[in-house]
Symmetry: C2
Subunit: 237 residues, 2 copies
DNA sequence: CTCATGTCGATACACTGTATTTTGACGAGA
DNA sequence: TCTCGTCAAAATACAGTGTATCGACATGAG
């Protein structure tokens, strides 16, 4: 018995439904982050007692699940181009954009399986483009690998973004900006390689960094799609 | 001013220091997950009033940061083999193992930049093995890409593991096990590709799935290390 | 011995998610 | 029309949270 199973209660004169609740929660989270979402505040925003919400959701985690699925509706592209590579690329970028619009999404993404209707629709659209291309196992591995990449990359990007924002207008990368602590540790000489990166490394745009890594991973997938499961093929040691 | 900057207070006859606090918090989290960690419970486990802790940490988030860095000590391998590919592979697997031992780590990983001494030591060891191999930009991209992959993959693995555990001894993959909701949605016929996967897909061991995707990503990195930054090289469209 | 310092514990506050109880409105039967 | 039962909604209650504040006490200096 999960959220998705529970039917909405009979529509009474009450001007309240799950959609409005979720919308209020999303608005709250957009404004003040996930921790600004409390059942009391959501209820207040709807001019309703806190306990009213429990007729529509049965726990706060369920509300979070619903919020995530709400945003998956933004992620699902309106029309699909034909190429699997383009589909995965677009999915990754749309997910990233959604996380930039709703930073709290980065905290939730991957935290629990996304099983809402919109999330499933996204998965369906993704899997569909591989139809007949190779065996199911390879397709699963491909999709999961790309997903793991962009999920992790987005999470780190948002984390860095927040850190920079918190430490006040980051000068360069996190290493330079993150206060006296890192500098002091680097000064100990215990981290020469790291020090070189902090000193000589270039500041790179987050989006191109994301896109570059994504292309690498897509290349890897492409290589494996050419040679279906079973055959291993190392390029270099 | 972060946790790492704050010196430990002068060692009084008080049998309390940051190490003991962090150890208690980690133990608590190991037993009951992150949400079982409350400052009051940590303090209680050390026979101390809750406010005592604020002499050593200044916020709960800092405690979490310290917990993460504590586990990074487990992740740092005792001795490094020479090959960059092996180093990244081992790092990924050790991180995964650490997350299986301390599932709460998966909730924290990537959530904020890891800047503790142990985390930096891990980064240092990772970067060092690339010394002189290519330009710094490529190395950075390589490390971050692999990191993004295994971070995301681990997070999903733990999420699925919990879901299976919660839904009581999962029969197969999450799709089958996740209650009537998914089954009902699949029955609508709106998700034919997904349905095929649920029906025909094989159950795959989480570890080999992790290792396989990791190998793909490592291959992609290897291909780029061979051809330094700037040159793009698509294998397939 | 007195006094200042500064550490520690207790208390306090505002807030959380959620269970339980109270209220009140509305429809059915007399 | 009046009464009563039912059921949704609101109010209250509870156990817990992170953290600020304050009072007491022990320990060191003069």
């Amino acid at each position: 018995m999960t959220v998705w199973d529970r039917p909405e209660p009979p529509t009474r004169p009450a001007p309240l439904d799950r959609e409005r609740i979720v919308a209020a929660a999303v608005a709250l989270a957009d404004e003040g982050g996930l921790e600004a979402v409390s059942l009391r505040k959501v209820a207040a925003r709807l001019d309703v007692g806190p306990m009213r919400l429990y007729g529509y959701i049965s726990t706060k985690e369920e509300l979070f699940d619903l919020m995530v699925d709400e945003v998956y509706a933004e992620i699902l592209p309106e029309e699909q181009p034909g190429d699997w590579r383009e589909v995965l690329r677009v999915l990754a970028h749309r997910t990233r954009q959604a996380c930039l619009r709703h930073e709290w999404l980065a905290d939730l993404l991957g935290g629990r399986p996304a099983l809402g209707p919109n999330a499933l629709a996204v998965t369906e659209a993704t899997l569909a483009v591989f139809d007949g291309l190779t065996d199911l196992d390879t397709v699963m591995r491909a999709v999961e690998t790309v997903n793991a990449y962009f999920t992790g990359a987005i999470r780190r990007e948002i984390a860095n973004l927040r850190a920079e924002r918190a430490s006040g207008l980051s000068e360069r990368e996190w290493q330079h900006a993150s206060g006296p602590h890192v500098r002091r540790l680097l000064a100990t000489g215990r981290f020469p390689a790291l020090a070189r990166f902090v000193h000589d490394g270039n500041e790179v745009d987050a989006e191109v960094s994301f896109a570059t890594g994504l292309d690498w991973v897509l290349d890897a997938v492409a290589a494996r799609l050419a040679r279906p499961a079973g055959v291993t093929f190392r390029i270099s040691g």
